[in-house]
């Protein structure tokens, strides 16, 4: 359909053999299949994390801005939703809206500052704001957030029927949200705006030469990415019914960065697969390692070491992640020049 002249610079429309509807159906089928293998409530947790990873993929994978403070917006969404449920009302949609607006507002204000920096200062200034947010929740705002003890909350039924505390409903709602986010990001990144965002990653100076105010686009992208992260946070609150400062802790940033890289940055599918693989590693390795070390009768290192080794392998051998590696294999088999 569109001439493909390189992996980085595909045309405006995403090259997909099935169209967006087909893609969504495929993902939905995969998620349902996985939920049969893995416990349903685990799968719900995984999907919430994947939504978060997708939001990070927009910021890092598409726009090339590595942030060490994306958890701030996940946490703002989670706390905004929880605070509304405790002090406002029981309507889950209203609570979610409060969480999203809080995060979008925060991103709009902080985005004015952070988007003027890039590279190392962008990564670290985000981390600084994340640390400040974590502290705010823990100490000065402890009167409303209950600090380290966390905050329990319960949401009413969505549309009067959907109960978030039933595993099947929680799974269905989260899966629907995930698909909606995927569709939204697919459309956004496929639009001329998405092309511009990718161009900023490649060479911001040249985009400026073309007459675009890159700051405005970067700012908008930052707000979108943060709001989607807040959506993941809000869903977390609705499903878990509990938030603690852990949801806004700067240490969580590492998880999302790794998930994007394991899958392959900048392709949405990378975020899906990376998020899934990362959660599997994180949840199953700590269970499997003690079993395995009992079996082999040796003391084995915990999962962190294996993650470290995986990271080194990614950086030195498979830069493009799982999806990138598969795509490279795929293209090597086809005659060169045909679109993937």
């Amino acid at each position: 359909m569109n001439p493909s002249d390189g992996s980085n610079c595909r045309g405006i429309r995403p090259a997909s053999p099935w169209g967006l509807g087909g893609e969504l159906a495929l993902i939905a089928a995969a998620l349902t299949l996985l939920s049969l293998v893995i416990k349903v409530h685990w799968m719900t947790d995984f999907m919430i994390f994947i939504i978060f990873v997708l939001s990070f993929d927009l910021l890092y994978g598409y726009m090339g801005h590595l942030s060490f403070g994306h958890m701030l917006y996940f946490g703002t969404g989670a706390y905004g939703t929880a605070l509304w449920l405790v002090y406002g009302g029981k309507d889950p949609l209203a609570a979610l809206a409060v969480g999203l607006m809080a995060a979008a507002g925060l991103a709009a204000v902080l985005g004015m500052i952070v988007m003027r920096t890039h590279g190392a200062s962008f990564a670290l200034i985000n981390m600084a704001f994340n640390e400040i947010g974590h502290f705010m929740v823990q100490s000065p705002l402890a009167g409303v957030t209950h600090g380290e003890d966390g905050l329990s909350c319960s949401a009413g039924k969505l549309f009067g029927v959907i109960n978030f505390y039933k595993d099947e409903w929680a799974f269905a709602v989260t899966a629907a949200t995930l698909l909606a986010v995927f569709a939204l990001l697919r459309v956004l990144t496929g639009s001329p705006y998405g092309l511009l965002v990718r161009s900023i990653k490649e060479n911001e100076k040249r985009v400026k030469f073309l007459g675009f105010s890159t700051l405005r686009y970067k700012w908008a992208t930052f707000i979108i990415a943060s709001t989607v992260a807040a959506l993941a946070g809000g869903m977390f609150t609705l499903v878990q019914g509990f938030v603690s400062p852990r949801v806004i802790s700067p240490f969580g940033n590492v998880d999302v960065i790794f998930a994007v890289l394991i899958g392959g940055a900048g392709g949405l599918y990378g975020a899906l697969i990376g998020g899934m693989v990362f959660m599997l590693i994180k949840n199953f390795l700590p269970v499997m390692i003690p079993e395995l070390s009992k079996l082999l009768n040796v003391k084995l290192p915990q999962w962190e070491m294996w993650l470290g080794i995986v990271l080194l392998i990614i950086v030195f051998s498979v830069r493009k992640g799982i999806v990138g590696a598969i795509r490279a294999q795929w293209q090597a088999r086809r005659p060169s020049g045909s679109p993937a």
Partner: protein
């Protein structure tokens, strides 16, 4: 009040020991080196083991653990850092973070997760204006000042130091003179790592050793490096002392806010003096 000031300088001194290596790596190689925290923590744990082996001799154990960490630092430089030279910032962060994770897990595997306290090797206090000040803390501050002066001399007078200073300004220019810049970077990297281990050991009697100690000091040290001006040697010293003081004073007024205040300062600095390039 005097106690707070001495405490501030002590924290500042430790931060300086740790950050100087980080600042040099950033200034010369443009790498944010998370593996620095690994070298630091591993050095302190080795020190604790040596203390037991050498019958509580502080100085012998200190020298032994610094010497043992030199080859470790060299391996990290040779097989991780050097391969990342000239790469994008992201991959360097991720690879060195991987090294940090491996080191942390190794510590947990060998030494366990329980914190290890270390005794104050001197244990004396001097009375000053009606207060008791531990001699050990004063010693730390003095050694940091001595280190600062020694490094100044090193970078001004020695040929290695001058080459490094020149590379901080323009590493391509130095390369054009036919000098193998990587060799000097490697020396500087090992030197910086040794100083981090030294700082960690000096700090151990004040704090306790725990597997995640590398992570905690790294975050503070990033703030020092940024406030000090990314690879500025004098700036790093000033920033370490100022931020150490910020921590001590905030900690006295509102103990939970001590670390956060450092990040507020760092955010303010980044807002008003954004870095030109990476």
């Amino acid at each position: 009040m005097i106690q707070t000031i001495v405490y501030g300088f002590t924290i500042g001194a430790i931060l300086y020991f740790f950050s100087i290596g980080l600042a040099l790596t950033f200034g010369t190689m443009h790498i944010i080196n998370f593996a620095h925290g690994m070298v630091y923590a591993l050095g302190v744990y080795l020190f604790i083991s040596f203390l037991k082996a050498f019958g509580n001799s502080f100085l012998v154990s200190l020298v032994a653990s610094v010497v043992c960490m030199l080859p470790v630092a060299y391996i990290v430089e040779r097989f991780v850092i050097r391969r990342l030279y000239g790469e994008s910032l992201d991959y360097a962060i991720i690879a060195t973070y991987g090294v940090l994770l491996i080191g942390t897990d190794l510590i947990k595997l060998v030494w366990g997760t329980t914190p290890h306290p270390v005794n104050d090797p001197i244990g004396l206090s001097v009375p000053l204006a009606g207060l008791d000040l531990p001699v050990y803390r004063i010693l730390i501050v003095v050694s940091a000042v001595l280190l600062f002066l020694a490094l100044r001399l090193f970078f001004k007078r020695s040929i290695i130091g001058q080459i490094v200073i020149a590379s901080l300004e323009d590493s391509d220019g130095v390369r054009c003179l036919g000098l193998d810049v990587n060799r000097y970077f490697s020396i500087i990297f090992v030197l910086g790592s040794a100083l981090a281990v030294l700082g960690g050991i000096l700090y151990a009697p004040i704090s306790t050793a725990e597997p995640y100690m590398g992570f905690h000091i790294l975050l503070l040290a990033f703030a020092v490096v940024i406030v000090g001006g990314m690879g500025n040697i004098n700036g790093t010293f000033a920033a370490a002392m100022v931020l150490g003081m910020v921590m001590a004073v905030t900690g006295r007024l509102w103990s939970q806010a001590a670390t956060t205040m450092v990040f507020i300062v760092m955010a303010l600095v980044l807002i008003f003096r954004p870095m030109e390039s990476d």
